[in-house]
Amino acid sequence: MNWRLIKDKLAQRSFALLLILSIVVILLILVGLVTKSVPLLKAEHLFNILSGSVWSPMKGDFGFLPFIMGTVWVTMVSLVIAVPLCVLASVYLVEYASETLRRLVLPLMNVLAAIPPVLYGVWGVLFVVPILSEYIAPVFGVDTTGYTVFAGGIVLAVMIFPIMISIMVEVLQTIPQELKAASLSLGATKWETITKVILIKAKPGIIAAIVLGVSRAFGETIAVLMVCGNIPQLPKSLFDAGYPLPALIANNFGEMMSIPLYDSALMFAALLLFVLILGFNLISRIILNRLEEKAQ
């Protein structure tokens, strides 16, 4: 056979192999997590684990609800802050800002994205936490150390800005000039054009940006861990401490492994995180498909 053809086949096969390899790794992680979680699942009913709100490993109580709610709170707070800000910022960058400003800001976003999470954590401890405890909480008549889900949400929001803004800018830039012209030529103002046409057209892309932001937020560990208090309780307000799943694993893995089932519980936490992210991505994929279908 021709050597060039052999090379061609070889390239095809090896690429396929690499692809399979990366998928296998994910499967192996899943299998590993499941097998490690089995001891806990055997000792306790899944429903009890998920709905239990008491976490005291020494007594054998492994209730995961505080951690699930911790993750949910921090993520929701960060989204509430980040989504409107990012949408408005990217609309400004694409529709109003000068070319110079756009060229200046977008690379800056990449720099922001490249800052190691631990620095965001330090920033949170030094600035966000004190400001929350000294200035913001007193306004609401709350006494807090500042290590709260609110602080976690703020830090996380800043961390997901870059990825959300850069994707949203990309999406907005794909909206054809003529579509804007169509709306403007009917006598619509720029603002009407943005809210009624551009953002509607860009909706699937904006949702995709939010999904990526959320995925990042779910998994973010160290920065959140540094500012959100890490008390295994159900947060009831913005000013309560929380304990997200990744923080639980990072704080405890490798320690206190002598406690029965502890090891298994942490692996279950990891499995939970895995399933959450997978499920979230799946659901958002479905929503996106629906939106795209509707748009066609």
Binding site: E99, S185, L186
Partner: protein, 269 residues
């Protein structure tokens, strides 16, 4: 080079003198990022007629069209001097309101760009923006305009369907209906049939001819045969200058200017 004022045939001038021109362009100059795109354009567009702007690509005909509804404002680094009078009012006056000006002119672009909403909402978009809230009135407007463009029978059972599901020819007619719904006086067409199949092109052309009894229509086209089929007047633009303006048959059969002659005979394109 050419004279700064366009040559107008005696007949065309007479006709324009009879009724005041709908659009009057005076000493219009447009530069984009330092480059002069339009040079000293003077033109009077007669009422209730179709005027075609022809010329080689890149000659500035689309820019000229966009200055008429001030869409050119959105181009980066653009400077406009001179005046464009619509019914005697200068749309480049300091106190002129852009949204008001644009409402007077329906734009039909090269490719149809339906808004990301239903067929109904596309047509109702303009009236809604200008404050129409009454559902009955909106329904009436939508039906009337869709009938105007001959689309009603084809879509009346699926007004809630997304406008992007329509065929491209239907989309272009929808865009025309959308433009008509804000009750403009002028229709601007920017090579509006260039993306359409011959049959849809014919439909649009016939529509425009029908519509000229109520509207003043200005079309940009690079298809001479189309200009011949639909227009009453032709403006030939070359290199940013209005070279010649006159009745369609005069321009096509008996051009006064050498460069016009070369263009209509197909020596330059």
């Amino acid at each position: 080079m050419h004279a700064s004022t366009s040559i107008q045939t005696a007949e065309a001038q007479d006709l324009i003198a009879l009724s005041p021109p709908h659009i009057q362009i005076k000493d219009l100059n447009v530069t984009i990022e330092g480059k002069r795109i339009l040079k000293d354009i003077n033109l009077s567009v007669p009422n209730n007629s179709i005027t075609s702007i022809i010329g080689p690509s890149g000659c500035g005909k689309t820019t000229l069209l966009k200055t008429l509804n001030r869409l050119v404002d959105d181009t980066k680094g653009v400077e406009v001097s001179g005046s464009v009078l619509v019914n005697g009012e200068d749309i480049y006056a300091k106190d002129a309101e852009v949204t008001h000006i644009r409402k007077k002119m329906g734009l039909l672009s090269q490719k149809p760009f339906p808004l990301p909403m239903s067929i109904f909402d596309n047509v109702a978009y303009g009236p809604r923006i200008h404050g129409e809230r009454d559902k009955k009135v909106l329904k009436q407007i939508v039906e009337t305009q869709l009938r105007n463009v001959g689309l009603w029978e084809e879509v009346k059972d699926r007004l809630d369907a997304s406008a992007t599901r329509l065929s491209i020819g239907q989309q272009q007619r929808l865009c025309l209906a959308r433009g008509l719904a804000v009750k403009p006086e002028i229709i601007l067409g920017d090579e509006s049939t260039s993306a359409l199949d011959p049959l849809s092109t014919q439909t649009i052309e016939n529509l425009l001819i029908e519509l000229k009894k109520d509207y003043t229509i200005v079309l940009v086209t690079h298809i001479l045969r189309q200009a011949r089929r639909v227009s009453d007047y032709i403006l030939f633009v070359y290199n940013g200058e209005a070279v010649e303006f006159g009745r369609t048959e005069d321009i096509l059969l008996n051009p006064q200017h050498e460069i016009t002659r070369q263009y209509v005979k197909g020596f330059i394109s």
